[in-house]
């Protein structure tokens, strides 16, 4: 077992893990953050995307020990202080999700894109999410959702 220290969604986390433990399983099983999903094992589908030091990574091919000393951010951290991220709102407004399985990874990539490029073109959005697969939406409404978020950059209250 190896001891790791990291921050997850801003909170310090210390744990003893097997060196082989994948980050996706650490986040889901050890920490119980099940918004990050396990889809393919081969870095192809992107349902396991989370942020490592502010960059989207596919956590099915990252070892937990590689996150030692680093900052992890998952979908559970998109909503802050009871306010949804505009990306979350955009996915609702534009029907950017159906089964919801790829959605957390898609939204985290979208947030990363918008942080760097607040007004992306359709082509830039398509390229940004090109490493992630959605079987339900045909991508059109995901693109629209991210465009919606770009057009509405300020987080707003959402009635529960």
């Amino acid at each position: 077992m190896v001891q790791v220290h990291m921050t997850v969604n801003g909170e310090p986390v210390t744990a003893d893990v097997e060196p082989r433990l994948l980050l996706v399983h650490f986040v889901r099983q050890t920490l119980g953050l099940t918004g990050t999903h396990w889809g393919c094992d081969t870095s192809n589908c992107g349902t396991c995307v989370l942020w490592l030091d502010g960059v989207p990574v596919k956590s099915c091919t990252v070892l937990t020990v590689m996150a030692d000393g680093h900052a992890v951010r998952t979908v559970e951290d998109l909503e802050r202080g009871g306010r949804l991220d505009p990306v979350q709102q955009g996915f609702m407004e534009e029907h950017g999700l159906q089964c919801g399985f790829c959605t957390p990874g898609m939204m985290l990539t979208a947030r990363w894109l918008l942080d760097r490029n607040p007004d992306p073109t359709e082509a830039e959005i398509r390229e940004a999410i090109s490493g992630q697969i959605c079987r339900c939406t045909g991508y059109e409404n995901i693109v629209r959702a991210i465009r919606w978020a770009a057009a509405h950059p300020h987080a707003v209250e959402v009635p529960s």
Binding site: E18, R20, L21, H25, R28, Q29, G32, L33, T34, G35, H37, W38, G39, C40, D41, T42, N44, C45, T47, T74, L78, E79, L84, Q88, Q89, F91, M92, E93, H95, L97, Q98, C99, G100, F101, C102, T103, P104, M107, E122, I125, E127, I129, S130, G131, I133, C134, R135, C136, T137, G138, Y139, E140, N141, V143, H152, V156, E157, V158, P159, S160
Partner: protein, 789 residues
């Protein structure tokens, strides 16, 4: 500033944001793999590396001794429990764990239950299996060769790999029309083996409570009630002691209709260990062992006049069903709904024969939004029409317009006996052509051809057959396909509706609330939709084949009508008038001629639970239920046009535009309907250009991960252009027809027709990868079900 959800929802049909999204966008969906129970153990399956081999011995001693391992289950263990085999959905059996032979690569051989998933996987490595490899049957076209290895020697007396022969239509009449036809075109084509590959793989958590005797199974199932009954029949467990829960499902597409060995093994694991057991497959297991789709080797012949009047169609199919016949479909049709292959055209005669064979591949066949094989049927006819268009030098859109059913022919009984309920086909195709700017596209194509550029325009028209199905015609393992619905209005006018169908992303929590709202006037946000739990919902066969709206949606509408009718009686008692004197406006009964005298449905609900004296024979409370047996299937349809550019040097296809006009009757929630269409169009691009599961001569699966089984991404998909016409179904209470699979059914031929139009080749099989297109351009397209020669 825009606030989500601030705008009022429609009362009834209309665009409305999805109620379920509030949890999904927060990462708070609850999928099977998210379930954690106290003391839960984890299972993993050892799978065969061979396509065909005799099982000589399985030594589990080292695995059992491994720290953290709680149980190792083999075929022998299951034989003792009489669970080594389970019935298939098509009058065959399926091995839960192999006992005598393995019959496909990836077949289940042993099951380890351990403290955690990693330990269970470690222990798989410690199981020693001795195999005696046997020659496999990989090429379906050789499966019936004399001397071919017999795959199913477990069936007494079985001497070959034949499953069934089946035919539909009038052979003699069809032959006669062909004999007299001016033009006959024939074409062989393969609809390759593809896979639904939902983003969430299949899995289950089983928990047998030894005190109460209650078995709870959380599983990735599109049909929780059917599963419960099958578990009762297979395992001999009392049905009232089984609860199947289908929580959030990460996409189904038909992949999650059947019962997989892993579900049964999780149950056995829980029985053996006395603790909850979770089993979730990985992606390779999903692709290699669970329900694939298609694998139809088809030969079509089309007869026509020289002027392009289509007269008849003759089809011969070889169906590769894999090692066990486990297609999920209404039992009277071994080829599913394939015999609706006459499509959208008025033919004098048609005949098809389908021969099913075993091969050393995974079982399945009916999956991937196929509408019980309407997908294969539409592909066949739409390719044949294009082949005829090429033969006659008639524009393919024009040829279709000349032959499409006319509105006045509905209800229309086709040559193989299906009664199409309603449609206006030429209007849909003309609208698609208008959106596309069809004539201008053809002009552009001609100009580009002059410059040596390869641009293609593909047209397809489809008639879907959904809403399975009328009890008089179909059942699955003796279970009729009616769906139940229970609607209860609480005293304060809020409601709960309980469904037998199960969403996998289709948005039932929203659209079924809208159905109730449309009929009763109760706002959709006041209607709670309960589904996916057999202890809390009425019986029904689940969600697949685009059946939720046509069957369960009808059940919900009828239950809501009954609630509305009862509210009328209650209102009449409240107002001391006759029920006949009341008129309905959405949400309220009022006295005819005096609109100020009325009661809302919420007021009626409260009165129904109060001291109001009701007419004799009328019970209190405000609720109703319905079991809906559909009188007929529904027939959504659509016209699709695809525009592609092909790189002459590499064969790479770029889908430039895709225009889809769909008619599914009235749209409950247009936003959701459009989303369903988008997803299906992406499926079509994937199947036409990228997806196929081929096998090498040893039976190795050549598409066993997402490294090899390619799915469309945002880069392969264009921005979809959609349009609609609305032709209500005359027999559905709300006129709705269903739409979930329409685009998956209709889009592949449009893409293929476009690519072949671009390169000027009569036919090449899907997937039209750059290699296949390049070889087709050079006269050597290859078989896509086998390793590339």
């Amino acid at each position: 500033m825009t606030v989500v959800g601030e705008r009022p929802n429609p009362v009834g049909f209309g665009r409305m944001l999805r109620k379920e999204d509030v949890r999904f966008v927060r990462g708070k969906g609850q999928y099977v793999d998210d379930i954690q129970l106290p003391g839960m153990l984890h299972g993993a399956i050892l799978r065969s590396p061979h396509a065909h081999a005799r099982l000589v011995s399985v030594d589990t001693s080292a695995a059992e001794a491994h720290p953290g391992v709680r149980a190792v289950i083999t075929g022998k263990t299951l034989e003792g429990l009489k669970l080594a085999w389970m019935p298939s959905l098509s009058h065959d059996v399926v091995a839960v764990l192999a006992t005598d032979k393995v019959r496909f690569q990836g077949q289940e051989v042993a099951f380890v239950v351990a403290d955690d998933h990693y330990t269970a996987r470690d222990a798989l490595e410690l199981i020693q299996v001795e195999y005696e490899p046997l020659p496999p049957v990989i090429d379906a076209r050789r499966a019936l060769d004399p001397g071919a290895p017999v795959i199913r020697d477990d069936i007494a007396g079985k001497q070959d790999n034949h499953i069934f022969d089946w035919e539909a239509g009038d052979r003699a009449r069809t032959d006669a029309v062909f004999a007299g036809a001016e033009v006959v075109v024939s074409q062989e084509m393969l609809y390759p083996r593809v896979h639904p590959a939902p983003m969430e793989t299949c899995g289950a958590v089983a928990h047998l409570d030894k005190v109460s005797g209650k078995l709870t199974i959380w599983s990735t199932t599109q049909a929780p009630h059917a599963h419960r009954t099958l578990y009762a029949l297979v395992a001999g467990l009392p049905e009232h002691k089984i609860r199947v829960v289908s929580p959030d499902i990460g996409g189904g597409f038909g992949n999650k209709v059947g019962i997989y060995p892993g579900y049964v093994l999780a149950i056995v694991g829980s029985i053996v260990t006395g603790r909850p057991v979770k089993w979730v497959e990985d992606r390779s297991e999903n692709l290699m062992s669970t329900s694939f789709a298609r694998d139809y080797h088809m030969r079509g012949e089309i007869a026509a006049t020289r002027e392009g009047k289509i007269l008849a169609l003759r089809v011969d199919v070889l169906a590769d069903h894999g090692a066990f016949n486990n297609t999920a479909q209404p039992s009277k049709f071994p080829a599913g709904f394939f015999h609706i292959f006459t499509g959208s055209y008025d033919l004098q005669a048609a005949h098809c024969q389908v021969r099913g064979v075993y091969t050393n591949k995974a079982p399945g066949g009916v999956a991937y939004a196929c509408s019980f094989r309407v997908t294969e049927a539409v592909y066949l006819i739409e390719r044949m029409v294009d082949c005829l268009a090429a033969e006659l030098h008639i524009d393919p859109a024009e040829l279709r317009l000349r032959n499409l059913l006319r509105p006045e022919q509905f209800p229309y009984t086709c040559a193989t006996g299906w009664e199409y309920d309603s449609g206006d086909y030429p209007r849909a195709l003309r609208l698609a052509m208008e959106i596309a700017g069809y004539a201008e596209l053809r002009r552009e194509q001609a100009e580009r051809r002059q410059r040596g550029e390869l641009m293609g325009i593909g047209v397809s028209f489809f008639t879907e057959t959904v809403g399975a199905g009328p009890k008089k015609h179909m059942d699955i393992l003796g279970l009729g396909m009616a769906d139940g619905c229970e609607l209860r209005v609480h005293p304060t006018g809020k409601a709960v509706v309980r469904l037998s169908v199960q969403t996998q992303g289709q948005g039932h929590e929203t659209t079924f609330a809208q159905i109730i709202s449309e009929v009763t006037g109760i706002p959709p946000e006041d209607v709670e939709v309960v589904h996916g739990d057999t202890d809390n919902t009425p019986f029904g066969l689940g969600t697949y084949g685009s059946r939720s709206t046509p069957v369960s949606g009808a059940a919900a509408a009828v239950a809501a009508q009954r609630v509305r009718d009862k509210a009328r009686i209650i209102t009449s008692a409240m107002l001391e008038c006759a029920p006949e004197d009341l008129e309905w406006e959405k949400g309220r009964w009022f006295v005819r001629g005096d609109p100020t005298r009325g009661k809302t449905i919420q007021e009626a609900a409260f009165a129904a639970h109060g001291s109001l004296e009701l007419p004799e024979g009328v019970e209190g409370h405000l609720d109703a239920s319905c079991v809906y047996d559909p009188p007929n299937l529904t027939y959504p349809f659509g016209a699709y046009i695809c525009v592609v550019d092909v790189d002459r040097g590499t064969g790479k296809v770029t889908v430039r535009r895709f225009i889809a006009v769909d008619d599914c009757g009235p749209r409950i929630n247009p936003m959701i309907v459009e989303g369903q269409v988008h997803g299906g169009l992406a499926d079509g691009v994937g199947m036409a250009l990228m997806e196929a599961m081929a096998f090498d001569e040893d039976g190795n699966h050549l598409g066993s991960s997402f490294m090899d089984y390619l799915l469309p991404t945002s880069m392969e998909c264009p921005s979809w252009e959609t349009g609609e016409t609305v032709t209500p179904s005359p027999h559905h209470p709300l006129g709705c027809k269903g739409v979930g699979e329409s685009a998956t059914v209709g889009s592949p031929p449009a893409v293929v027709n476009a690519v072949l139009d671009a390169i000027g080749v009569r036919h090449a099989d899907m997937p039209l990868t750059p290699a296949q297109v390049w070889r087709a351009m050079n006269g050597r397209p290859y078989r896509t079900d086998l390793a590339i020669p």
